[in-house]
Subunit: 328 residues, 4 copies
């Protein structure tokens, strides 16, 4: 917020504003306005009208409402997750099952995606479910399986956190938190993960505009955590032929507007296995800094003996649970 | 969930299923299937595949995924908030400011809406805000103002709760909780308010289908709280001429599909004061059990002396903060 | 278009502009601008830059792009179809089958809707069909059936015209043309019906904004036909639970922005018979000047002898072909 | 339509069905059904119920409603426009201005896009305009400019036709017709261009599903013209940050479902010049058979002498008229 003082403002006005900001725990500082006037910058969560008083000529918000995410005057950021660098030019690949099930099959999946070139392992221990009667994941047991798979492969682990009360527990296991599409406006959660140092993958909500999504990232940044990666995963449109509509134009647009890396999640966006490879290539063409994809073991041979080398061929991209699925 | 046993299932299969259900804390009971077979009903939060074992022919979910909200075999429910009965035939009117500001003006607003026929007072003490820099409400101070306005007028108070960690505090002041559009998929919150006995107003998310919304209500019902009222408040469409698109067809549809009362919130749905009265009438035509509207004092006269009787005429419907506004 | 002349413009500039407008077949006239300047109003289909020349200070379009539809400075219009007056305060009811099939059943339908209070008969002889293999209506034979039903009942006939080449033929039978949702941007058709004196029902396209729809009406008005009635019939949203999403807020909004009557078509908007009555009431609550509804004979009794008086009870509201249908 | 005869159907039933089809001007033929039954295939525009009679067991439509567009049992098609082959493996580039203005600048644009690698020239002589007061293109004069540019460069010309009454005129100049997004459901136009041998570019309407769009292509194919290319150009979603939302998943999906080539039009889909290159690469990643892009001369140097070699650098991708535009 920029507070412009009127030419006849008394010094006490400025002092009172600084005191009001300090009392609210906010940072503020006097700024020259280039025209000889006095201006006060307040990094403000005060209601704008709390700053209006005699001697104040105007209270303005800065151009971009997402001040910290904005590319204005700042270099693009690179987010590190262990030795992985997201936004450093080389696309990053995160892969793994939608839901963590058994420990052995998860470790096998982790080895398979690593040998296929993945840099990070994804998998859900806590799943948001539309139905209160659906399986909601293995919880802490699943987190333990993920840690075991990390130990076996060295891949950092990406696993979702659903609420502020889970953050400490999940942080004990996860290297990176995805904030799911349904939680983009869960502001207590955004503020809570913003207090950690864990890198975050901020997915776009089903019906959230480009600007609103940047404001969700801004919540995290404003809480002190600079390690934010955006993730495009599909929005809702009138056409349900694909599970969601992948809005890939939002990838180059986010890179133009912000300094944050952007990755693409083609699995929910298409909901159809046969489209995933093409849309992953499309995302890289659009300039994405990486991909996060779902894989699932499909045992197609007559024998299901685990871990035979030939089985690895059978790891295939699957799609989000519940979406349409075209077996080959 | 309906578990169909195969004709050659052993009695021990049935016993094991009943034990599995009991171990998971679930209610289950044998059902005749009308064709001489044995069927087991489980009110299940078990993953469906946990019920598949030798002797089980099929595991099916019942028709409506929203079992408890469904109108099948059940009478429409009436939700009581103090002496107010929602769904009892006579439309209920909830009114008040979007955000609670000062105590005196809130009490004045409460008196004005009561004299205009309102049955309940609405007002936000905690506001979800797209920007981390925006005013987020007065918090507990605002809750205190609401309690004072209730004391002054006798109107029960409706005020939003944003996260599970706030439920105990807000419950100490509020008579009814709205669950906001952004929190419809905040499942930890839905389960937490489901453990209270406080009536709930479950708003519809911006891009949530009719069925998904009913599943959010089902989360609350399945957690033990039967006092759910649905609220239609506008969805996002391609046309932003009005702030949201009021999907009024969802009102008679919800009344056809469920036993829950449904009210309408025309303020965010239109975002334009001049349309609110017409759309409130439209909602009643569509069969809504009540309305929740925003009001704000507009001082139009030459004098702004508070609490003059003639000022009450000046209380007018306003629209949600940030929406377009046509002053008369 | 308002052309502002600069203070140093020569008289020849004004003459040249008037000549350019006349050469393009346009009406223009000098206007005083209230500030002593010279201003020229051109009812222009010229490209704006064709008016920019030395001595011209500015070329501005007027506030509302829909000049003739706008309510600015003009009274609401009343559209007459025979003795029926649309927009005169009393809601008008148009009813009939979606598609004209047999002559006798159409006449029976016309009698049934008349006895139920309808003022006009609707029915399709030419149907727009998504599939090239679908039945596209009886064509001129169907028009003849409609004329016979009008003769039998006195009800004016509303029937769709699909292209400019059909206008003369359909005009020989129809009292009012609906321009269907798929033809809102069929500008050759809009201009062609604008050259007739037949009243028009301009439906809103599936994904057409409020403003774009008013521009479609403006095409007709600018072509010389003032008898335009708007019709709200549902837009596409992400939620396909109902066949379309009825955007009823657009009804009072159109009445605020324009001088045109607005009616509602609840049948495609809901696609579900059980919702039609409620949504018709909602439309009237929203301020609609009338309704257009689909009816279809449902023979529920053991006998299908035509025209038994008791059968009239069986004429019921149906929904558009292909929509979901809940039989009672 | 597949008509299955019941085992006890009399030969006269089959004869009557063949006669009914012939009377309606339809092609039909007996088909073996593989199970020893008698089946009749009718390429039918008859209402399905017109085929139901004694002896008919079932009337079924074939799996895909888009029979001719479907990939079932058929190889992908290659569409030729002069020497250009669309769908033959090498991406095709169509480029040119949105609207044809002056002859010289159009020829210059054609030379510039040819030297930049384009295979075809696009440009609009008839423009669909939301406003009746907007410039609607130069009409036949513009068609003449396009022909001159073709003569100067050898590039085939792609130019839109707006209605069935324009087809003969435009066909005298154009090598390929785009059917615009607003005309996808202009069935008289689709049938009329289906009677020509001119290749067609069928764009997707703003709110048209993947299946509906294929049915529009089917209209053309069923009218006898096999030379159909699909074009993805953006749909409407709730987010207007970009002008339309490019639904690139529809590209690989259309190639999976149909035998038709698919190209991408990134200009209206983004509405922002800085995003066009990235989204063109994304489209090729998604598997598009080509691109159609808008270019416009931006005269940045002090001199505007035409056709200086150095000016060619200044030809840049622009976006659709009316969209946002970011000058460099």
């Amino acid at each position: 917020v920029i507070v412009s003082l009127s030419p006849d403002a008394r010094p006490s006005t400025c002092v009172a504003l600084l005191a009001a900001a300090a009392a609210a725990g906010l940072e503020s500082r006097p700024l020259p306005d280039g025209r000889g006037g006095d201006v006060l910058g307040v990094n403000s969560a005060l209601p704008t009208n709390a700053l209006q008083r005699p001697g104040v000529a105007a209270v303005q918000t800065t151009h971009k409402p997402y001040r910290l995410a904005s590319r204005e005057h700042r270099a693009p950021s690179v987010v590190r997750v262990g030795e992985v660098r997201i936004g450093a030019g080389r696309p990053v690949l995160m892969a793994g099952p939608c839901v963590v099930e058994e420990r052995e099959s998860l470790i096998e999946a982790a080895r398979a995606v690593k040998s296929a070139g993945a840099n990070m392992l994804r998998g859900g221990a806590y799943k948001p479910r539309t139905s209160p009667y659906a399986f909601r994941g293995l919880g802490e047991v699943g987190l333990g399986h993920l840690a075991a798979a990390r130990e076996a492969t060295g891949l950092p682990v990406v696993t979702e956190v659903l609420g502020p009360e889970q953050v400490d527990l999940v942080a004990a296991y996860a290297d990176m938190f995805p904030i799911g599409a349904r939680n983009m406006a869960n502001f207590p959660l955004l503020r809570r993960v913003g207090k950690t140092d864990r890198p975050l993958l901020v997915k776009r909500g089903f019906s959230v505009t480009v600007d609103e999504r940047l404001m969700s990232a801004e919540y995290v940044l404003a809480s002190g955590n600079p390690n934010v990666v955006l993730c495009e995963r599909g929005i809702r449109s009138f056409d349900a032929t694909t599970r969601f509509t992948l809005d890939l134009s939002a990838v180059p647009l986010a890179k133009e507007l912000t300094r944050l890396p952007v990755i693409e999640d083609p699995s929910p966006g298409t909901g159809k296995r046969s489209l995933v490879t093409r849309m992953a290539l499309a995302g890289l063409g659009a300039g994405a800094d990486g991909l996060i994809v779902e894989v699932h073991p499909t045992l197609t041979g007559p024998s299901a003996t685990p871990a035979r080398p030939s089985r690895r061929r059978n790891w295939r991209r699957s799609t989000a649970a519940g979406g349409p699925f075209t077996p080959r």
